[in-house]
């Protein structure tokens, strides 16, 4: 067992006095994909934001390479952990695609230093990897929802993090880009050795890309395990209700979760 890149120990997360999740213990391994699943409003995004240091832990702590995030400088955290937020706030004044992606270098270069040639190479490589190199000069406001998502992902890649947190990365992506996203996430973890944590409401995508699944429900982490251990009717029905079914995929044998129409 490799040492975890990111650990949560007895973590309580929430906003101010409002606790959303408590008693969370979680290990995030390098080279692995961890999917957080759970019903709407269960606290997946809250947990993800706390893991990324955007929200302070109410109790317990998050450790990045053994060092607690509490008290760690925000910029140092951002060099190790990149988060692609779920909501891409549309601004009244859009930046260009390359300007938006280049912000990913700020944690490394500082906010006041000009970009170096090395930074520019990282930015170009990130845009190329997300297939948006040809959009570099376009304004964000002129992009489709799927293109805008890929800009956010490219910015996170430009941070050259060790840990990548993705909040509902499949939102707005059609099935072609969903499959590309799955390949990208797997390649980032399995080939580049990043630790990837992502929230997904689409359980079919969870089956395809996760190495480990953590089920969040009822103010706690219910269960953490392999795909086949968590995506089971007896585990999911108490959380999501009775109207779902799990089948074995006819080719791969992996679990496929489908909604069931109430009779």
């Amino acid at each position: 067992m490799k040492t975890p890149l990111l650990e949560a120990r007895d973590l309580t997360c929430g906003y101010g006095k409002c606790e959303v999740l408590s008693g969370v213990n979680l290990d995030v391994q390098p080279g692995k994909v961890l999917a957080l699943i759970g019903p709407n409003g269960a606290g997946k995004t809250t947990l993800l934001h706390t893991l990324g240091g955007l929200l302070p832990a109410l109790a317990g702590d998050v450790y990045c390479e053994g060092v607690p995030l509490r008290g760690k400088h925000a910029r140092a955290t951002a060099r190790a952990i990149a988060l692609a937020p779920q909501r891409v706030t549309p601004s009244a004044w859009p930046l260009s695609v390359s300007e938006a992606v280049s912000l990913g270098r700020a944690p490394h270069r500082g906010w006041f230093m000009p970009l170096t040639r090395e930074d520019k190479q990282v930015i170009d490589a990130s845009m190329a990897r997300m297939g948006i190199a040809t959009l570099a000069g376009r304004m964000l406001s002129t992009l489709s929802g799927g293109e805008a998502r890929r800009v956010v992902l490219a910015r996170a890649l430009a941070q050259t993090p060790k840990i990548l947190l993705l909040d509902e990365p499949a939102t707005y992506l059609d099935i072609k880009y969903q499959s590309e996203l799955v390949s990208l996430v797997r390649a980032l973890a399995h080939e580049d050795g990043l630790a990837v944590v992502l929230t997904l409401h689409d359980l079919a995508l969870v089956t395809l890309c996760a190495d480990t699944v953590a089920l969040v429900a009822g103010g706690a982490l219910r269960l953490t395990g392999a795909v086949g251990e968590v995506l089971r009717e007896d585990v999911l029905r108490p959380v999501y209700g009775e109207n779902l079914e799990v089948f074995a995929h006819p080719k791969s044998g992996l679990p496929v979760v489908l909604p069931r129409i109430a009779e």
Binding site: G16, R87, T89, E99
Partner: protein
């Protein structure tokens, strides 16, 4: 580059116009005091028009920079330098000084500008402190609301003072509309450090402002300390606006439209937007001031009237032809 050359040209033209027209050749020799320059022209340029034009350019640049910063910080196209109450505070300070005949001064400011400067800074500090108590740092919405509420309160107090002490109507009213009449080197010297420091700090904050455009979560995930960033932006813009208002009164519109015009020219990235806004704001105000003293020469009108009457139609025209990029 082109814009800076254009600014110099506009400033030169502005110095030529006035109750005495000075030809470009005579203007050149007067500015650089070449041998054979007309001593009357030298006096007009060096004692009257040069400091005034410089001050108009500096104030215009500062108001436009602050406007661009607030529009970016609040992600709101209607934000202008006066949104968080600096001007209402300055107005109350100035009205108090005029109504009670304050004397003395400090930091190189005369009594009225000093009270205006203090009033502006105090108001910004109160607005920030009130918004801050919401927890998690001053939120954008609470800053705007606190600014509006305090602004309304201070304006009411100005009106009350005007009615209660009924003599200073004209004096206060022309101050409130803003202008550069009788402004000279001491005003330039006093305001220069604050205006330049404010503009410089805002330009340095270009990349954090870019990061804020994408939303707070995105900015935080890049390691930007949002709370500190807001405090720096509000302080820098607040200082610049306070100094500008203290020496020239409340000049509207420049800080609202110059950043929009700049965005149409160079896009929303603040590294280019900040200097372009400052240059356009400087040009606009120099032109407006030239009109203000040339139309009814030798008398003049408050420059705030000119900026609104000329700026209004210009803004509507831009909105009509290119407005889709605003939404």
């Amino acid at each position: 580059m082109v814009a800076s050359v254009l600014l110099l040209l506009v400033m030169a033209l502005s110095m030529g116009f006035g109750s005495v027209f000075i030809k470009p050749s005579a203007l050149f020799s007067a500015v650089f005091r070449t041998a054979g320059a007309d001593p009357v022209n030298v006096t007009i340029i060096w004692d009257l028009r040069l400091p005034r034009t410089l001050l108009a350019a500096l104030v215009g640049g500062a108001l436009a920079s602050a406007g661009a910063a607030f529009q970016g910080l609040f992600r709101n196209p209607l934000a202008d330098p006066h949104v968080i109450g600096a001007s209402s505070g300055a107005a109350l300070g100035a009205t108090l000084a005029i109504a009670f005949g304050a004397s003395g001064g400090a930091l190189g400011f005369g009594p009225v500008p000093l009270c205006a400067f203090a009033g502006a800074l105090a108001t910004v500090a109160v607005v920030y402190a009130v918004a801050e108590t919401g927890g998690g740092g001053a939120s954008v919405a609470s800053l705007l609301l606190a600014g509006a509420a305090l602004g309304a309160m201070l304006s009411a107090m100005v009106s009350f003072l005007l009615i209660w002490r009924d003599q200073p109507w004209f004096h206060v009213f022309s101050w409130l509309l803003g202008g550069f009449s009788n402004r000279s080197w001491p005003h330039v010297q006093t305001a220069l450090p604050w205006l330049l420091a404010g503009m410089g700090a805002l330009w340095l904050m270009a990349r954090p402002l870019d990061a804020l455009l994408g939303g707070d979560d995105a900015a935080r995930s890049l390691g930007l300390p949002i709370r500190t960033t807001r405090l720096i932006l509000v302080s820098a813009a607040g200082l610049a606006v306070a100094a500008a208002v203290a020496v020239s009164g409340i000049i509207g519109f420049v800080g609202l439209i110059a950043p929009h015009a700049a965005r149409w020219l160079v896009g929303a990235g603040h590294a280019r937007l900040m200097p372009m806004s400052a240059l356009l704001g400087a040009m606009l105000l120099v032109v407006a001031d030239t009109f203000a003293r040339a139309i009814f020469a030798p008398g003049e009108i408050p420059v705030g009237i000119v900026t609104a009457t000329l700026g209004g139609p210009f803004f509507l025209y831009l909105l009509k032809t290119r407005g889709r990029r605003l939404a």
